[in-house]
């Protein structure tokens, strides 16, 4: 890959990255959340197209319109997220689009089953190839995904966090499989957050940070510590305002929240005047924790005390958001376009909808124009008028409007997923100052973010989440990226 760049709107996800991978070697790709690893791999796999730069395989430049073309060129990918169809069997998923046909064009199910059994057996698995994927456990699904990648008989195999759902024994099976593929002369790209695995099976490592290429080195030259040092070490800029001097009483208390049948219960308190962050590697349960509080995730149990009431979890998915808003808890969802804003509606309507929602349906509309104007002024939303549709604003201004909705409704507790996702650097600083000012007014703020630096700079306290439990707590002023990664990775 040479000089590969990918932009999403104003944000540059991958900036001018070049590196080479070799047959017969396992190449680790490392970096913090949002470093651009996944985007880079999606370009290699044909999901995204690079805006600039070149991908060459065995010296020949290639462009992929879709994953199928990448596969045909010998690049096979096992992604983290679901790419199997739940209503098809393992065999059907493995052969979808290239089913062997027998007499009269009838798909040859015996042949598919036979070959599937063989591929699964190579991975040491003994599953009925006719089982529907919907009926598999998460770990088995992951193995089927891997089998899918291996079966393609590709020259380049990308494994994106293949072990996230696997236990130690399964990881062993996978590792021996990777050894075999390496011996067969395949080039393998391996993304993982587990240090021990990286050092056990990889030959080289490429480290990325903020979309940029940091280093490509043989792993023999590195220690776990020096590798973490390569991944972190960003300057804490003056984006961040000062921290709170002292905090007030408990505003929201979460007790014995249990995310899975076998998960360890977790408890935490959120105080007035503080910003509390949920840190850790991506997808370790942070989002499930906050969504459990508003009924959008169904935990196994637990209770939450807020606004003078104690609620037993899980709470109703249908009424949870409204109920929590009545208790003064505002939830700002991560996905601004799908879950947050009404893109076709005006700024004033978007800011006001929270206020209106608190009123009965057959009441007159609350007058929100002045409130909206005030909030637009306070948050410095750059728009001609409150009547402009939100969809026409930039990401930063959209995010401010979304936050403005909860300011207008005067919530005591704010739960914010990804406060600055897809927002440019100037707006980020403004949003940090705003959140700090809100905390200063006595509001309690719970934040989760993929950007560890953001959490360190912004939060008073950090809870490190790993594998759906709280593994550590750090004070914001003492926290470093190194310490957080260390806490998460060595838990």
């Amino acid at each position: 890959m040479t000089g590969v760049t990918k932009r999403f709107g104003p944000t540059i996800a991958v900036n001018d990255v070049s590196f080479e991978i070799w047959p017969g070697r396992v190449h680790a790709l490392m970096g913090e959340n949002g470093a651009g690893k996944s985007t880079l791999m999606k370009m290699l796999a044909g999901v995204h197209r690079p805006d600039a730069g070149q991908i060459a395989i065995a010296g020949r430049g290639v462009t992929f319109a879709n994953p199928r073309e990448a596969l045909a060129a010998g690049v096979s990918t096992v992604f983290q997220e679901l790419s199997l169809l739940p209503n098809l069997s393992i065999a059907e998923n493995l052969f979808l689009g290239r089913e062997p046909v027998g007499r009269m064009g009838i798909p040859d199910r015996t042949e598919m089953a036979r070959r599937t059994t063989a591929v699964l057996a190579e991975l040491g698995m003994d599953l009925d190839p006719n089982t529907l994927v919907a009926n598999l456990s998460i770990a088995d699904r992951q193995f089927v995904e891997i089998a899918h990648g291996i079966k393609a008989d590709a020259q380049v195999l990308i494994l994106d966090e293949p072990t996230a759902a696997l236990n130690a024994a399964d990881v062993q099976v996978l590792n021996s499989q990777i050894e075999k593929l390496r011996a067969a002369g395949k080039a393998i790209i391996y993304i993982s957050h587990r240090m021990d695995e990286i050092f056990a099976i990889c030959d080289d490592v490429t480290v990325m940070k903020d979309g940029n290429h940091v280093a490509t080195q043989p792993l023999s030259e590195l220690t776990p510590d020096s590798l973490i040092a390569l991944m972190v070490g960003r300057e804490l800029s003056d984006l961040f305002p000062d921290r709170a001097a002292d905090v007030g009483p408990v505003r929201l208390s979460c007790k014995n929240l249990t995310l899975g049948s076998a998960a360890t219960p977790l408890s935490f308190d959120l105080h007035a005047g503080e910003i509390l962050g949920l840190a850790g590697l991506e997808g370790q349960g942070q989002s499930e924790i906050v969504r459990s509080l508003i009924g959008r995730h169904t935990p196994f149990g637990g209770e939450v005390a807020v606004g003078g009431q104690t609620l037993h979890l899980p709470i109703s998915p249908e009424r949870g958001v409204r109920f929590m808003q009545r208790l003064g808890v505002g939830f700002v969802p991560e996905d601004r376009k799908e879950e947050g804003l009404l893109l076709g509606a005006s700024i004033a309507e978007n800011i006001g909808i929270g206020l209106q929602a608190a009123r009965p349906g057959f009441a007159l509309l609350a007058r929100v124009r002045d409130t909206a104007k005030r909030i637009m002024r306070d948050l410095d939303v750059k728009a001609q008028s409150p009547a402009m549709p939100v969809g026409a604003l930039s990401g930063g201004n959209q995010q401010k409007v979304l936050l403005g909705r909860y300011l207008a409704a005067d919530m005591d507790v704010l739960i914010i997923e990804e406060p600055t996702r897809g927002v440019d650097i100037g707006a980020k600083a403004e949003i940090y100052r705003l959140l700090r000012a809100l905390a200063g007014q006595g509001k309690a703020i719970l934040v989760l973010s993929r950007e560890t630096v953001e959490l360190i700079g912004l939060c008073d306290r950090l809870l490190i989440v790993h594998d759906r439990k709280l593994v550590s707590e750090l004070a914001g002023r003492d926290a470093t990226e190194h310490a957080i990664l260390n806490a998460a990775l060595t838990s």
Binding site: L85, N87, I106, A134, I138
Partner: protein, 328 residues
Amino acid sequence: MTQPTGTSRKTRAANRLFGRNSRQGNWWAALLIIVMTTILLIATTDDFATPRNASNLLAQAMPLIIVAIGQMIVIVLAGMDLSVGSVMSLTTAILALDGAPIVLIPLVFLAAAAIGLVNGIAIVRLNVHPIIATLSMQFIVLGIAQLLRPVAGGSVPDVVVNVVTGAFLGIPAPVFWAVAVVAIGWKIVHGSRFGLHLFAIGGGVASGQSDTAHNFGLKDRRNIVLAYILSALFAALAGFFIAGRIASGDPGVGSQFALDSITAVAIGGTQLSGGVGGLHGTILGAILMALLANGMNLANLSAFLQGAIKGVILLLVVALQSRKKMGL
């Protein structure tokens, strides 16, 4: 994301009961009701267990079986075809025109293919919701049928009547029809790559990963258009069968079939949200509907009340199927 490991035993039991984790859906409930109804009818009426009634029953069930197979093809894709009834009416109207059978019969299927093509293009190219596209097509096609034949009447070519009501080697024609239709249906739905891809595309829509099938390199748009063409062709075949039975053209003959076919498909365990279903369930569903109609006739129930009861059955079946999306 669904996590089988995280689901409680109760949900899993419920899943199994409603056939949620099987690709065929819950077809055995239909079978169970058929068996029970048959026993009940044999026990309570004298006329049911006669060869004449059995042959009658098959002939009565045949149009619904045919049209339900077509309906199932689009429902598995997470679509729906409300225009099938009008296509049936149009078919009888065309067959009752003055003309040589050699012209009329191909014309019927050409017209149906064209209607399916328009439906499919409106849906995949022009971004119209399947229900709206086929609902409007229902009226357009019905209008054309009424233009050709304002009221029931005329006569269809003898060959059509003979093919439907005759007998060969002493075996009534509907038996051959049943064998042929089941064979064709099986070939399309379960015996071809196209059929498997239908399930893949519909399953992607139902589980909120509508890009997945496309990423596997399936020609999703072409398959969807083809499915609507097939649905219309099956409807035309059903119309052909009815035309043979009534030996005339009737623009009102198909009016019940859009909803009846959806009921039959749904009662056979096919999920209206897509990706789950099967041919045997659909056939069982259609037979069940015919059996109920037969039973209600034998019990001398008013035809009007029968219509209402069919509506109640449809509501019950669709209300029991779970769906995430709200609205259309």
